[in-house]
Amino acid sequence: MRFPALHAALIVIGLGGCANDPQYLQPPADMEAGMDDGMGGTTVAKAQLTLPIKPETSAEMAARMTLANKLGVMVPYVKVGDIDTEVEWTITNLDDSDGIAMIELNGANEWFRYDPSVIVLDPTDDEAPPTPGLQGDIPLDVPAKGSISGTFREDQILEASIDLDQITRGHVNPFAAVLTVNKNDQSFQPLSTYIPPTQTMPMPPMQTADGPAVPREAFAEMIEIDLVFKPDHHMTLDYDIRVRDHRGIMNSMGLDAPANQLTMFAPAVYMVGM
């Protein structure tokens, strides 16, 4: 049964009261890892969750193209500030002994997916540190048969989004992007493509400024959250993603939305030298 006037009144009250009501996205399954992998190590679990974003309307596309022409750089459909994303998680230790777990957060914007496990910055150095993830990778003590909870906050996801854009579109070194605070940056200067050192060319050319600076209005927001769960004992990771939509671009059906009501992003996996 519907009461159209009342329906409208409730929406108005709801919008007035809580303009930023969050939407919670529950992944279909927990992540489970930390079992013996048969090679002397423990298994690692990976998960990807793409945000259910509605297709871009022709008016939005026209406005985006106008802005792109004005700024002289590519402008994404989902920009920094359009949504605020947070990841809440709970780790449960299924083992009888205390353990340590790490959660690494990566992701993708609509152009590029950042996966540090496929990025080798210096192939000539076997002892070079691994390419960093965008957030996390902090050892967490998990008591035997116990649980701990935590959050990747909105400002951390914002930082990760800007780092990702700087690394992929701006060719900024991942270490430089991740180890500096960029969430308040108003622009970044894209660099020339990073050329990794080789045996024949141990000192590749320095990167130089390349193209116009990218202003904050054109920073890309992450539209996919990737988690890597690395426990040293048998544990599960339960998580959900909380999104505050400031632009009305999230599909209210969430992960149950039909495919034709979603934007099908196809980000390319970022590799050095791209």
């Binding site: 049964m1 519907r2 009461f3 009342l6 329906h7 009144a9 409730l10 929406i11 009250i13 709801g14 009261g17 809580c18 009501d21 969050p22 939407q23 919670y24 529950q26 809440e88 998680w89 709970t90 909870s149 339960d238 998580y239 959900d240 909380r242 599909n251 209210s252 059906m253 969430g254 992960l255 149950d256 939305a257």
Partner: protein, 190 residues
């Protein structure tokens, strides 16, 4: 002479007594503003905590014992679903129409009320426990309850205490109790 004075005195007393016994409550158009709490009943009480509630109600007394009105109410609750998420709040907005049957006993009135309307939940945080369904944030709502009202010295004003139960069929038949204290102003003089 003495008899005449006595008759006049009795008439004067009767007049004064009739003023003092005038009906203390106005009837007519009224408005109420209330505050209280909404507490969910099992099984929804496992997933949503008690929370503050506010409501506004307007209507008209058709008779001294029957009034019809409309209401809008809002309450805020912490979602206590299994984490994650944890520490998250949601709001429940309700609106509808109701009828109230009452009886006035001197300055105290007792009443029963009931009605239907629609509710809107502000987020899908209860989707994890399947109270809400994907993309659905509205439910038909039915409520009923009872209360007491005390008429203040000024016949336009009354304060009351009401307890209503409501059910939300589209939110997994979630049930709750609303308890509220309210102030009522009646515009009419009759």
């Amino acid at each position: 002479m003495i008899l005449r004075s006595g008759v006049l005195g009795i008439c004067a007393c009767a007049c004064i007594a009739s003023v003092a016994d005038a009906r203390p409550a106005s009837t007519g158009f009224f408005a109420e503003g209330g505050a209280g709490v909404v507490d969910f009943l099992p099984s929804a009480s496992n997933d949503a905590s008690i929370g503050p509630a506010f409501d506004i109600r307007v209507g008209r007394d058709l008779f001294s014992w029957l009034s019809l009105g409309g209401y809008i109410a809002a309450s805020s609750h912490e979602a206590t679903v299994p984490p994650p998420p944890s520490g998250q709040w949601f709001q429940l907005y309700r609106g509808g129409a109701d009828a109230r049957l009452g009886a006035l006993f001197d300055r105290v009135a007792a009443f029963v009320e009931g009605g239907v309307g629609e509710s809107m939940i502000s987020s899908n945080v209860l989707e994890k426990v399947m109270i809400t369904k994907p993309g659905k944030s509205f439910s038909f709502t039915i409520h009923g309850g009872a209360g007491f009202e005390y008429q203040l010295e000024n016949r336009h004003y009354a304060v009351g205490l009401a307890v209503d139960a409501f059910i939300e069929p589209q939110f997994k038949s979630m049930k709750a109790l609303e308890t509220r204290l309210y102030l009522r102003y009646t515009y009419g003089g009759g």
